[in-house]
Symmetry: C2
Subunit: 357 residues, 2 copies
């Protein structure tokens, strides 16, 4: 053993090469031999077929146990033309939304013995192609696509394949696609109505980016509530946000730095922006709700921490429902193609009314 070998040896204590020998895999054939039955019977036992006598079942089970057999997913998928997996594509950006949705998806998927493959779409075309390719190569039985940064073109392309697709929080323009949405309009309406009911006169709206369904519907909800209450918006108080924390922070900073008077209340069309607003106010030694009431939308986790009144989007449930729709589509079950989930107002201290957390 020369010096190099020695060095090698030493570094092996902290470095490791990849997989060593693999010790031949145990297959159905091994099990069938061990238990003296055919591979078909082994397969039947594995798949819980009722057409196996209790006695042989036990024999096979024992052999499986003894040999440490574990069925191979790829082989099974290839034979069955089913992967028992559903693909989930999230946008790269995330407003604290996606982990909740994912958990909802997972919860139902697990209950049906399905697995999850996840991918993130960075929004650019190259990424879209990647994701599409990944998920269409028979890797998954269905696709759940989450809104934002997902071009229409992408959705259409995807729908062209024969994969069942479920869209979360995005409208369907294609009959082959199911969708799960939240009731943005009545959520916004409720928030607005709440603010009006509190007697606020000058209410600002921190709007969302043009062209996104959430932004549009939420704004419609505001208008509807205003109209019903006979309230007219001041154009100057409708701010052009983009759903990011920064936009709330910057717009409010500009406003304050310009010395303009605060509105009585503000409805930010999502939570991150509301939090940006809070931060800007804080830095100007202004208080929510004393100097201005504030409402957000979505009820992300931090909203609770900040005492932000907001409209709860049932993210977990969205995931669950989407998951259910996807799996039903795969298994041939019937599924409602379009589902709209209720939202509800969660009143916290940012409106000045203390109440239920």
């Amino acid at each position: 053993m020369d010096v190099n070998d020695y060095m090698q040896d030493v570094s092996d204590t902290i470095l490791r090469d990849g997989n060593g020998e693999q010790g031949r895999t145990v297959t159905v054939l091994d099990v069938s031999r061990q238990s003296g039955v055919s591979t078909a019977t082994v397969s039947r036992v594995i798949n819980q077929s009722p057409k196996v006598s209790p006695a042989t079942r036990v024999r096979v089970l024992k052999a499986i146990e003894k040999l440490g057999y574990m069925r191979n997913h790829s082989a099974r998928a290839l034979a069955r033309q089913r992967t028992d997996t559903i693909g989930v594509v999230f946008p790269g950006i995330d407003s604290g939304f996606f982990s909740e949705v994912l958990k909802g998806i997972n919860e139902y998927a697990v209950s049906r013995d399905y697995h999850l493959m996840v991918a993130f779409s960075q929004g650019d075309q190259g990424e879209h192609d990647r994701v599409a390719e990944y998920l269409q190569a028979g890797r998954v039985d269905a696709l759940i696509l989450m809104n934002l940064g997902m071009s229409d073109q992408f959705v259409r392309q995807a729908a062209q394949r024969e994969l069942p697709i479920v869209l979360i929080d995005r409208p369907v323009k294609d009959a082959r696609v199911a969708s799960v949405m939240i009731d943005n309009r009545s959520g916004a309406d409720a928030a607005m109505t709440h603010l009006l009911g509190l007697g606020h006169q000058r209410i600002a709206i921190l709007a969302g980016p043009d062209g996104t369904i959430d932004a549009e519907q939420r704004f419609e909800g505001c208008q509807h509530a205003a109209k019903r209450a006979g309230y007219a918006f001041d154009k100057d108080l409708i701010w052009p946000g983009n759903f990011f924390w920064e936009s709330g922070y910057e717009l409010m900073n500009h406003w304050l730095d310009a010395g303009k008077p605060l509105p009585d209340a503000m409805f930010a069309l999502n939570d991150p922006m509301a939090m940006g607003v809070m931060e800007a106010m804080h830095e100007h030694s202004l208080s929510v709700p004393d100097d201005m009431a504030l409402v957000g939308f979505d009820d992300v986790q931090a909203a609770r921490y900040l005492g932000l009144t907001t409209v709860r989007s049932p993210m977990h449930e969205m995931g669950r429902i989407a998951s259910e729709a996807a799996i039903n589509l795969v298994t041939g079950g019937r599924t409602q193609l379009e589902q709209v989930l209720a939202t509800d107002l969660v009143v916290r201290r940012s409106c000045g009314v203390e109440s239920k957390s």
Copy 2:
């Protein structure tokens, strides 16, 4: 068409049955016929083998294009005994941590053309078994396991298989397992030192649950810093937290309700607990930092919103590194078996010192 048929028809506009006909899949054989070469050559083209003449390559590519061929993952995986997929197991509970880590994992995985399969472990044994089974049936080439709720037994079992395993934020007790950790000790040390440097005399520690590595190491960091500064802890000021928001909230509420005097400063060993403390103080009309300085640990997103001084855990980077380790282990590359990532103090307003975001 009778009434039932009619009803059926109507409901079909909103309901849909699962997958219809599948339109035979295009295989390598189809491509080989179309282009007049063997399937072997088609395979070579698909896999970018250099041993194909430019001319045939083009012919095959054209055929692929024309036929809309897309390689089948299961078949490929079965033949190659590789899935190009890495499995990621997260704990069911989540402190806002996991989505960041997941993105880090994904980022690197994508760069190496790997895919992600994710599962959540609910902590109970049944779940563990499920996850283990899922992920060991040849579905993935390697496993990344995230700390918390993952029993030692589970990790060992998993390691017994020949799957490369990478543990995030958990110590290794098994040579076959790689691990990525954060430097809890020096992070906690820095936070503690910061508090001491600010001149605080009575510093409380809101500790983490016994037996978790993070809780232990962070506490050690505190002790180390205290010792170096010649500071002695008041036993009463070491609170038994459990890393959940609720524990911070409740412990602080009890303390205040009991009329006990606030410490000068508190170091909560993770952010959620710190936020619980903030909330309890807020409800008692007490201010951070005026009535008590507060520091957290992890720098979850909400920490920024709340202006919480905290120790940043490089979650994204942890994911990246773990992903890299896992893939290197699979591809036979060399990998450092144990990696510890630096943490750093992020000073915000909760300590009374305004500064860098």
